[in-house]
């Protein structure tokens, strides 16, 4: 059966970049227009469609007007339009509404935009269907984007042929105000299921991919971590699906996108912020942090995990930081990275660190 592909374009994403605005979230859009910003997403969407080889093997559902329909018509593909627009100007609400509608109608949703669009798509579809982003925003720190429009087309072709592997990838929430002031503050916003071209299955002896699912990998990590857990020690579990697997192993609740504290196998605090962590640290002298790199490029502190601020990290020994990541995830990141805005803390963390990648399996990786 033909694969059903959905397309949602955020017509205003990326417009801030050319006029130095670093994003068109919130109130910045009128300002971008005033400064003479040109729409860029239409060109990216067109490039994506024109590089798609298997157009004829798929059925397209596109968002109305400038959010997809116009571009699809220009590109000469056959499509049906999903929903209609509420007004002349499109908004995040349109993305969310149309996304929700599409989540019942398509096998894969392609969106064109930036981190903000990714968040709207996440709000709409969650983990219901796979999603891939064609990068066109100003900030694209999340891992849900293809490298460029052409790479996105390759991934969609692979998906149509059944040659794509699907894994959960992070959607990041970047504080745009801070970014405009030259600081990068980000936190984990959620997860999307993202397809990627699976490694080539080689002729002969060298097949390369793991047969285990990333969830099984996370469970193996969790078993190992739990077996090594010490009594009367406070464990601060950072955000993410791997740390959540650890909580599941302990049969306790976990805030997927935040920091929880566990002591003698019981949750003692949930969704902690920096202040809450500092308060807890006053009452505990044996403390370990368990975190997973966030954002697809190996960051352990500084992008995501921002609850573990320099003030917190000052009180924690490097040896008491346990990093966990699936084999796949760590293979993708060349190194671990830190950027805490505090040179002394960064220096303390740099060097080498072990990452738990499976049951009793660790890889020593450089921290840069």
């Amino acid at each position: 059966m033909a694969k059903r592909i959905g397309l949602i374009v955020n017509p205003i994403a990326g417009m801030g970049g050319s006029v130095g605005l670093k994003g068109t979230d919130g109130k910045m859009y009128p300002k971008a227009v005033e400064l003479g910003a040109e729409p860029v997403t239409a060109a990216r969407a067109k490039a994506f469609l024109s590089h798609l080889k298997l157009k004829d093997k798929s059925a397209f559902s596109v968002a109305p007007g400038g959010m997809g329909e116009d571009i699809a018509r220009d590109a000469g593909i056959k499509f049906t339009v999903v929903s209609s627009l509420s007004g002349r100007k499109t908004s995040a609400d349109d993305t969310r509404r149309i996304g929700r509608e599409m989540s019942n109608k398509v096998d894969l949703l392609v969106f064109v935009g930036g981190d903000g669009t990714a968040r709207d798509v996440y709000d709409a579809v969650g983990l219901k269907i796979p999603v891939i982003g064609v990068p066109s925003g100003v900030k694209m720190f999340g891992a849900v984007f293809a490298v460029n429009a052409i790479a996105a087309a390759e991934i969609v072709d692979a998906f149509i042929e059944g040659n794509a592997a699907i894994s959960e990838k992070e959607v990041m929430d970047i504080n745009e105000e801070a970014y405009r002031e030259g600081r990068l503050e980000s936190k984990l916003y959620g997860y999307l299921m993202v397809p990627e071209v699976a490694g080539l299955v080689q002729s002969g002896k060298e097949a390369t991919t793991y047969s285990e699912s990333s969830h099984e990998n996370q469970e193996a990590i969790a078993r190992y971590i739990i077996e090594g857990m010490l009594a009367d020690t406070l464990y601060l579990l950072g955000a993410g699906s791997t740390t959540t697997a650890i909580a599941e192993g302990l049969k306790v609740r976990k805030t997927l996108l935040g920091v929880d504290a566990i002591h003698n196998n019981r949750v003692v605090a949930e969704n902690l912020n920096e202040k809450g962590i500092l308060e807890l640290l006053k009452h505990h002298n044996k403390v370990k942090i368990i975190i997973s790199p966030i954002g697809g490029n190996g960051f352990i502190f500084g992008r995501g995990n921002q609850e573990f601020s320099p003030a917190v990290l000052k009180l924690i020994e490097k040896d008491d930081i346990i990093v966990v990541a699936t084999r796949d995830k760590i293979n993708r990141a060349a190194s671990l990275r830190v950027d805490t805005n505090d040179a002394r803390i960064d220096k303390k963390l740099k060097g080498f660190m072990r990452v738990v990648t499976h049951y009793n399996e660790e890889v020593v990786v450089e921290v840069v």
Partner: protein
């Protein structure tokens, strides 16, 4: 026609003497290889490696031996490997219940970080390092670092030197001085006998004793044994091929670099490259050039290409050029 440059084979056939010897071995294949035939093979290898026969163990390919060694030592304690490493080493080690520690090569230099390696090696039962390394092509160990690891681990250091003839460097003689050093090598690469699957290892007698129960099961076949003895009488042929491969490797490296591809220095018969294209291996495959796709260890912009004949290399280079020109 498909050009296969994904298995790091030699693209030149063996000399007629080697084929003739294999044929001679075929005549007696109703029998298992005899102890005498195996002794002759060991003696030829001993001459080639410059170490006594007592240090040598022969096997039907290095791959199976690597697996056996890792399983054997995993019963005694933890395993340390490097990352990336020869695929088989990683997969066998990952499949075991024992502790596994991987030490990642530094990026982007791909240097082996000695300090964490020594720290991990200290209490390990076995440390496995392929040097030259597959898939990077890099020679990771010199005599000094080999000595350091041997002296600091309470276990065994296994150095897989399958590509040593291309590197023109080996630590095999050090097995005489370090009773915890194993060096494995193969006839599959520079000698061009991949289809015969003959490998060997050198190690102190204590280590070999541990393997004695496997000795018969791992023996090469009779035609393989005869062919290997013949090949070892014609070292010049191997050396010429290795030199030819080296020359071609540098030519391919220069040509690819000139196209803007990042090419890593290699001491082997293959090159690791980083292209500007995602899914580079797949795109080359669409043009009927098969290269190894290391995308489980690097990004999909990377390829590992074996050095073939000048014609094969030209086919690869023109396909690469086409792939790079894609939008």
């Amino acid at each position: 026609m498909v050009t296969e440059l994904n298995r790091n084979e030699l693209s030149y056939p063996p000399p007629s003497g080697v084929i003739g010897a294999a044929r001679k071995g075929l005549q007696g294949v109703n029998r298992y290889a005899t102890a005498r035939e195996i002794a002759e093979l060991k003696s030829a290898l001993s001459g080639y490696c410059g170490i006594a026969e007592e240090f040598i163990f022969v096997t039907s390919g290095v791959e199976i031996l690597l697996g056996q060694l890792i399983q054997l030592f995993a019963r005694k304690g933890g395993i340390v490997i490097i990352d990336p490493t020869f695929f088989i080493i990683a997969r066998v080690a990952e499949s075991l219940k024992t502790g596994l520690r991987k030490v990642r090569l530094m990026r982007p230099s791909l240097d082996l970080p000695m300090e964490p390696l020594i720290a991990e090696a200290r209490d390990a039962a076995l440390v496995v390092i392929d040097s030259p390394n597959n898939p990077t092509g890099r020679l990771l160990l010199d005599r000094e670092s080999t000595r350091k690891i041997c002296e600091s681990t309470k276990g065994i250091l296994l150095v897989d030197e399958s590509y040593c003839e291309f590197a023109g460097f080996s630590v095999i003689d050090m097995v005489k001085n370090y009773s915890n050093l194993i060096v494995t090598r193969t006839m599959s690469k520079a000698f061009g006998l991949a289809g015969l699957k003959v490998g060997y290892m050198a190690a102190a007698e204590d280590v070999l004793r541990d393997l004695s129960s496997l000795e018969v099961a791992l023996r090469p076949t009779t035609p393989s044994a005869y062919a290997t003895v013949a090949a070892l009488k014609d070292i010049e042929y191997m050396k010429n091929n290795a030199a030819l491969v080296g020359k071609e490797r540098e030519r391919v490296s220069r040509a690819a670099s000139a196209m803007g591809v990042e090419v890593y220095p290699s001491s082997t018969n293959f090159l690791l490259m980083r292209t500007s294209q995602t899914n580079a291996a797949r795109k080359l495959k669409d043009l009927e050039v098969i290269v190894f796709d290391p995308s489980n260890q690097f990004s999909s912009q990377f390829i590992r290409v074996s050095i073939g004949t000048p014609d094969e290399n030209n086919i690869f280079l023109s396909a690469l050029e086409k792939v790079l020109a894609m939008e």
